[in-house]
């Protein structure tokens, strides 16, 4: 059983928790202040009226919605793509015999050790030659190659008792029917983990969309927020930047509060592979 805790340790952790929250609360508070008040005196945060004008300014700026739409398309596309490819491959590697299966699986596992930096320059070249930059496929396809999903699904399919497939095969079901009707429904927990991880990863991805999407219309939200940040001084003011940070961060924080358990599981699972 857990023993009673040192009150000093608890106090330290509570203080650390407040320090974690402080930057977020600071940004939230300033986002509700008018730019004029902030220009005059940054201590305005402690007095004066709250206003939603910064948020109104964002809503009036259609570009942000375009970027959110792009992020949704790219993240959902990548999530669906990864789930389909990883499920098929996981089933194939875990359950089927075909020439070269073992060596191919080992090669895919070796791919886990390849960092993005080692391939990104050549990927960029390939998409340039194909004149494919500034498109949704260009933003989605590189993410489909991550071996983590195949690794996870293969493990999961291996853990399912083989008797299930054998019984179905006796009923003359095809390989694909066994996969689709019998085994796939049993992998829903793994699908959820992999799906959440992929979505979060795609939503927050920065380097690849930064170099692939150079057209403002094709920016994802991450790159869009970065582009306005670049002209820190010239932007519409502190309050506007603050509101933008809240606008970009809050939805994902709310999703996190609802799916906390699964998100933590997915992130920890991917790191501890």
């Amino acid at each position: 059983m857990m023993r009673s805790r040192n009150p000093v340790a608890i106090a330290l952790v509570v203080i650390a928790g407040l320090l974690m929250l402080a930057p977020m609360l600071w940004v939230l508070a300033l986002s509700l202040k008018s730019n004029a008040a902030l220009m005059a005196d940054t201590n305005a945060v402690f007095d004066g009226a709250f206003t939603l004008e910064n948020y109104v300014a964002i809503l009036g700026n259609g570009q942000v919605f375009r970027w959110i739409g792009n992020s949704l398309i790219v993240s959902l596309g990548m999530t669906v793509g990864v789930l389909v490819l990883a499920s098929l491959a996981g089933y194939g590697f875990a359950r089927l015999e075909f020439p070269g299966r073992k060596i191919l699986f080992v090669i895919v596992l070796l791919g886990l050790a390849v960092p993005e930096q080692a391939v990104i320059i050549a990927r960029h070249q390939l998409f340039s030659w194909a004149e494919w930059h500034n498109s949704y496929p260009a933003l989605i396809i590189p993410g489909l190659s991550a071996p983590f999903g195949v690794f996870l699904m293969t493990q999961y399919f291996r853990a399912i008792p083989k008797e299930l497939d054998e019984a179905a095969m006796l009923d003359n079901a095809s390989r694909f029917t066994v996969f689709w009707k019998v085994l796939l429904p049993l992998t829903i927990p793994a699908q959820a983990t992999l799906g959440i991880f992929t979505f979060l990863h795609a939503w927050n991805d920065y380097w690849w969309p930064l170099i692939s999407a150079t057209n403002k219309q094709m920016f994802t939200l991450t790159v869009g927020i970065a582009s306005t940040q670049m002209n820190f001084a010239q932007t519409e003011g502190l309050g506007f930047l603050m509101a933008q940070a809240v606008f970009a961060g809050l939805p994902i924080l709310i999703v996190y509060l609802f799916f906390q358990k699964y998100i933590i599981q997915a992130v920890a699972g991917a790191a501890g592979r």
């Binding site: 974690m20 020439p99 791919g111 050790a113 190659s145």
Partner: protein, 292 residues
């Protein structure tokens, strides 16, 4: 290549793995090989001009800016990895209880992990801003002159490290929490019977039981923090005076600002080799699972 049991007859089964393999080859195998080849060439956006053998690598190791980025990257890892590991462990030890207050705090400590690097850097720029930032307001209230953290060559990297620790603390915490859940309860019961104190229990039972996780967290964090890119790219542009320029930012700028793709590819290979060493260590520790 055919294994003993597989026969020609089984070829159609490979159709299940084929779609993934096509993407894997096109997006990982080919770019990896191409990147290695590019690193031996001199070329730009429009194509390869000449094969230059290993001269990109000799140039790298004589390039003071590249060497500085290597130094900066190690400095950053040194600033972040021990802190992330120890704070993560401390949080996990205190928060490893089902009590309500601990649940709320765990939620808070992991929340920043789900944010993107652009939101995190935006938030922290607004904290470090000398003119109206959170720290400036606090130091003015205390009667001190605000410091321009991100413009100070000695303070910029620590500022980026603090930002990163704030962003990344959730992962080490949950990895340690997961490990603590695995420690057999009987061990604690036996310790309680022996009237072992809190400190003795921690040192003799808890820490040895999670030693493997400790090593894994250190390696995972080294690999992650080695790839530092977005924070300095967005907060300082590598400055002041290259003080916060890490290897990945060097690769990015050489490749996409100066369009020296061959040279950038060579730097990427050096980084790849460093990460590979850490990844191999991770594999060795992870596969020792059975031994414990």
């Amino acid at each position: 290549m055919a294994t003993a049991r597989a026969s020609k007859h089984d070829w159609p089964n490979a159709l299940f793995v084929l779609p993934y393999l096509v993407v894997f080859v096109a997006m990982i195998v080919v770019p990896l090989g191409m990147g290695m080849w590019l690193s031996t060439t001199k070329g730009d956006l429009f194509g390869v001009e000449a094969n230059v053998g290993l001269s990109n690598f000799t140039r790298l190791f004589g390039d003071p800016i590249f060497l500085e980025t290597v130094k900066n990257t190690f400095y950053f890892v040194l600033l972040t990895v021990p802190a992330l590991t120890l704070i993560g462990l401390g949080l996990a030890l205190v928060l490893n209880t089902p009590a309500r207050w601990a649940t709320v705090l765990r939620t808070i400590f992991f929340a920043s992990t789900v944010l993107s690097v652009t939101v995190v850097t935006l938030v922290w720029r607004l904290v470090f801003l000398p003119d109206g930032g959170l720290l400036a307001v606090i130091s003015e209230a205390l009667g001190r002159t605000p410091i321009a953290f991100l413009n100070n060559p000695d303070l910029a990297m620590p500022a980026i490290a603090i930002t990163t620790i704030w962003w990344c603390i959730g992962l080490p915490m949950v990895l340690f929490l997961a490990a603590l859940q695995q420690v057999p309860r009987e061990l604690y019961e036996a310790a309680a019977l022996d009237n072992a104190g809190r400190w003795t229990t921690l040192r003799r039972i808890t820490l040895p039981a999670i030693s493997r996780t400790f090593v894994l967290v250190v390696i995972i964090e080294i690999i992650l923090q080695f790839q530092l890119f977005g924070q300095p790219q967005l907060m300082t542009l590598g400055g002041p005076n290259n003080a916060t320029r890490p290897i990945v930012l060097f690769i990015y700028e050489t490749g996409w600002r100066q369009w020296e793709l061959g040279y950038a590819a060579a730097a990427a290979q050096v980084l790849f080799a460093m990460i590979l060493i850490a990844a191999m260590a991770q594999y060795l520790v992870a596969s020792r699972k059975g031994a414990q």
